[in-house]
């Protein structure tokens, strides 16, 4: 499947090469802090690696800036004149002061994603504060109570899409148990030359506007010749009857997006340096607005050591999917004196962000080709029904226990997991909802669409175990709040329980309660769900603590549960982190009182 990098490079047209080169030609970085760094190495930091600001006192200026990621100069929004904005390095236990100056002609905001803080500091206009008016300054001041990798981004309308984002690194108060020689942020983003308001309007008018992978007559002929006409027709019947496309993977694709790594297009080749044998920490942040990335570094084992800033028992994988707003810290140990490609292809297989790990600047390695365009599987629409029923025993009987989605059925004390009951809301029967799943799957060991059985070890949520377990193990779990992720893909309406934000009431958490959120995905898309202000402690299907996160991706036709300790008084945002889903209604206000 792979071809040589020379072939790949030859096929890159000159125009495209120039386009995605951007300003950061040969960009390379020496890392945030390199204990073994030699003086001679300093000074080669590229203009396209964001600056690093450390300490407790920060001035961040949001401003308009022309940016060129595609060969066209386009208006963008930057922080301190760069995209991404500067990386902020804090220390656990300190108090930080962040003066955010808004030099835009419109209201702006910065949200500190995944940070536990007082709600007034959280940076969501309309919930935490009115936003930062044009020309004004907002000062956020709070205690840093955690460590790990996080990020910040605009929460005003579509400003995030236009460049308003950056990384946050928090050093632990005690010496970091994770010893590394090099440490780099790898921020992944999606850039569009379009005005995001126009992009949103396109989706509202023609929801498959950016989908150039729709099933065609050619596909039908191929299936018919291989499987027979009746089989080809029958296999399309349900999809067409439901007016849904088995290729509706994401809403916004490479038809408009250029995928960036630390602000560099694929040809810009952001580069991180290492000496063979060194342990290199890569802090992957999906700071995109509407993209999922599948990340791998051919030739290297990825040891995943943290998820959403929280340390996990190390997991060795070849590849991981990082949902919008998710964060994974990975350690690699390149031993050879050669370059390695950091390859992050979009879930819809229409482009990639790419960088290089290299012993010297200016090197590059083979860039893999994209994987084939996947088709949505039945399990993504029918949930456990397509897994052969809701009970593990049934599954094993019908499929010999060797499930393609990697089913290793978790069991509770009785040795069997029953199918959870699903309660559709009464508001899920209207125009805002195009499908409901009655038998969702609950297993966490599915890497997701396009990654199943690709011959590589791919990370799943079932692999993630937060070191130290739950923060609230001693607190009994009280009530459950069940919410369904819903949408109408044709109308491009998204919501919870069939209600858009503008139609819904706030969700009330009683102060101090330890509750279980039950999310059922009644759509065919994966939704990264982010609760502000409080941790989301994901549970296994048997309701054992699994991993602590700030953003939880719920796969199509999947049911997940997680615990939340409502210990943060105030008003918080709760939403799908796909920007266009959020703006189209998949958003709630949570009130803790």
């Amino acid at each position: 499947m792979k071809r040589s990098s020379r072939d790949a490079a030859m096929n890159v047209s000159r125009r495209r090469f120039v386009q995605s080169l951007g300003a950061g030609t040969g960009a390379c970085s020496l890392g945030l802090f390199s204990p073994r760094l030699f003086a001679a190495d300093i000074g080669t930091t590229s203009p396209r690696t964001p600056a690093l600001l450390s300490g407790t006192d920060f001035d961040l200026t949001i401003g308009n800036m022309p940016a060129d990621f595609t060969g066209r100069m386009r208006p963008a929004v930057s922080v301190n004149g760069s995209i991404p904005g500067p990386t902020l390095r804090w220390r656990e236990g300190t108090s930080v002061t962040l003066r955010v100056h808004n030099h835009l002609p419109v209201t702006s905001s910065i949200h500190w994603h995944g940070i536990i803080l007082p709600f007034q500091m959280d940076g969501v206009p309309g919930i935490s504060y009115p936003g930062i008016a044009a020309g004004d300054t907002f000062t956020a001041r709070f205690q840093v109570k955690q460590s790990g990798t996080y990020w910040y981004h605009g929460h005003s309308h579509f400003q995030e899409q236009t460049g308003l984002y950056g990384a946050i690194i928090i050093d632990p108060a005690k010496p970091d148990p994770i010893g590394v020689d090099r440490d780099y942020v790898v921020m992944l983003n999606d850039w569009t030359d379009e005005d995001p308001d126009g992009l949103y309007a396109h989706l509202k008018k023609v929801s498959n506007y950016y989908n150039y992978g729709e099933p065609t007559m050619q596909d039908f002929i191929a299936d018919a010749s291989r499987q027979g006409v009746s089989h080809a027709l029958a296999s399309r019947r349900m999809w067409n009857q439901m007016r849904m496309s088995p290729r509706d993977l994401v809403d916004v694709t490479g038809a408009t997006y250029t995928y960036l790594m630390n602000g560099n297009g694929p040809a810009g080749n952001w580069t991180a340096l290492f000496r063979p044998g060194e342990r290199v920490r890569l802090r992957f942040i999906n700071g995109s607005s509407n993209s999922f990335f599948d990340v791998r570094i051919p030739g290297l084992n990825l040891s995943v050591i943290a998820a959403d800033g929280q340390n996990v028992d190390p997991v060795e994988v070849d590849e991981f999917r990082i949902g919008t707003a998710e964060v994974y810290d990975v350690i690699v140990q390149p031993r050879e004196d050669r370059a390695y490609t950091i390859f992050a292809q979009s879930m819809s297989r229409d482009g990639y962000a790419r960088g290089t790990l290299a012993p010297r600047a200016g090197m590059q390695a083979e860039v893999p080709n994209l994987d084939p365009l996947p088709t949505i599987a039945m399990v993504d629409m029918m949930g456990s029904m397509a897994q052969g029923g809701g009970m593990s025993g049934m599954r094993n009987m019908t499929h010999g226990g060797d499930m393609h989605t990697g089913q290793h059925e978790p069991t509770d004390d009785t040795g069997m997991v029953g199918m959870p009951e699903v309660h559709h809301a009464r508001t899920e029967y209207g125009p805002n909802v195009d499908m409901r799943v009655d038998m969702p799957r609950t297993n966490l060991d599915d890497p997701g669409i396009g990654l199943r059985d690709n011959g590589r070890r791919v990370l799943t949520y079932a692999d993630l175990h937060t070191i130290g377990g739950s923060l609230y193990e001693h607190e009994p779990v009280g009530r459950e709040i069940e919410l369904h992720l819903t949408g109408n893909m044709e109308r491009f309406i998204w919501g919870f329980d069939g209600l858009k934000f503008s139609q819904a009431k706030p969700v009330h958490f009683r102060y101090g309660e330890h509750l279980r959120l039950v999310l059922v995905n009644d759509t065919m898309m994966t939704h990264p769900i982010h609760l502000h202000g409080m941790w989301s402690e994901l549970e296994s299907p048997a309701q054992k603590f699994q991993v602590r996160k700030h953003t939880i991706c719920v796969q199509p036709a999947q049911r997940v549960t997680y615990r939340v300790l409502a210990d943060a008084l105030g008003r918080w945002a709760y939403h799908c982190h796909l920007l266009y889903h959020m703006e189209a209604g998949m958003f709630r206000e949570v009130v803790v009182s």
């Binding site: 790949a8 809701g390 199943r452 069940e482 044709e490 503008s502």
Partner: protein, 323 residues
């Protein structure tokens, strides 16, 4: 949770699991001889060829995939399962309200797009036609403005030939969604063109029928107890990602004669067209096609009397454009 299964759901599981049995068996049958062990993931049917991305600013190549490799499964193959779409909420459906009476605060600055009005102007067909009897220009355009819940629609369809406006139907409608894929439209219609103008009250449904048929059916009531029915359906068949074949039918029925406008009671006319468009962009797609119009009954008599053909085959060329 697993121990909390109530009786009802146990029955539910048993029924649906039993109903599932034939499906995996069938799937296993069809999977024999393939490398893939189970039914969930269709095998990727790569051709060995490579496709350079050509849709946007991105670079890269991916394997050419032909076919979807889907397995048959029907929604209605599961007796006892509630439908996945539509339907009515059961009386015991969950309440979506978790507010405990807590309301939104007084904070200003919320700026979400979910209730913002949008507008669209679409020339579905803007074309030159050429037939044995006449040639000219015809138009089928719609515009809307509003939110997801309430939209104002304007429609215009007509043709200009022989140096005059032959016919122009215009409508102003209030559109409301009533189901996932269906809207109702209520408003007025005004007809211009040959003969005296006519005005009607209009009520219709418009939407996407199963199997992706775009459908609109509208009933009209006019002055002097005139009534009319209009039906339109079209389908989009993507030959490639950009080359789309669009068959379309349209029929008009009238409750009583209107000789001044050459209209007879009953099925008055039907039109069948096939257009092949190429989407240079989503918003600009030139096309060529053929269009056949046939008049029936008394309408045909009026048309014949006027010396015009009852059956009009035409070649068309135009563009599908929207903003």
């Amino acid at each position: 949770m697993s121990m909390n299964l109530c009786k009802k759901s146990m029955v539910f599981v048993a029924v649906s699991a039993a109903a599932m049995v034939p499906v995996p068996l069938q799937a296993q049958d069809t999977m024999q001889g393939m490398d893939m062990p189970a039914m969930q993931q269709p095998p990727q049917q790569t051709t060995g060829g490579w496709q350079r991305l050509d849709i946007g600013p991105q670079i890269g190549e991916r394997p050419v995939v032909r076919g979807l490799g889907l397995q048959p499964m029907a929604v209605d193959a599961m007796p006892g399962m509630p439908p996945m779409q539509g339907g009515r909420a059961p009386p015991d459906a969950r309440r979506p309200d978790y507010s405990d009476g807590v309301d939104y605060g007084s904070m200003t600055g919320m700026d979400m797009a979910d209730d913002k009005p949008l507008g669209m102007l679409q020339f579905d067909r803007l074309e030159y036609f050429n037939g044995r009897a006449a040639s000219g220009v015809s138009l089928d355009a719609q515009a809307w403005y509003g939110t997801d819940e309430n939209r104002l629609w304007l429609k215009a369809e007509g043709e200009h030939s022989g140096e005059r406006l032959q016919d122009l139907r215009t409508e102003v409608l209030w559109d409301r969604p009533v189901a996932a894929y269906w809207d109702t439209q209520l408003g007025v219609r005004h007809d211009f063109g040959v003969g005296p103008d006519r005005t009607w009250a209009a009520f219709g449904v418009q939407g996407l029928a199963p199997y992706w048929f775009d459908v609109a059916a509208t009933a009209y009531v006019g002055q002097s107890s005139r009534t009319a029915l209009r039906f339109e359906a079209q389908y989009e068949l993507p030959l490639t990602q950009r080359l789309i074949l669009q068959p379309r039918i349209e029929a008009n029925l009238y409750g009583r004669d209107d000789p001044q406008r050459d209209i007879g009671a009953g099925l008055s006319d039907a039109e069948l067209g096939v257009r092949l468009r190429y989407e240079i962009t989503r918003q600009f797609a030139p096309y060529v096609g053929v269009d056949f119009t046939r008049r029936f009954g008394k309408t045909a008599d009026f048309v014949r009397a006027a010396g015009e053909p009852v059956y009009k085959p035409q070649l068309v060329a135009g563009a599908h454009i929207w903003f």
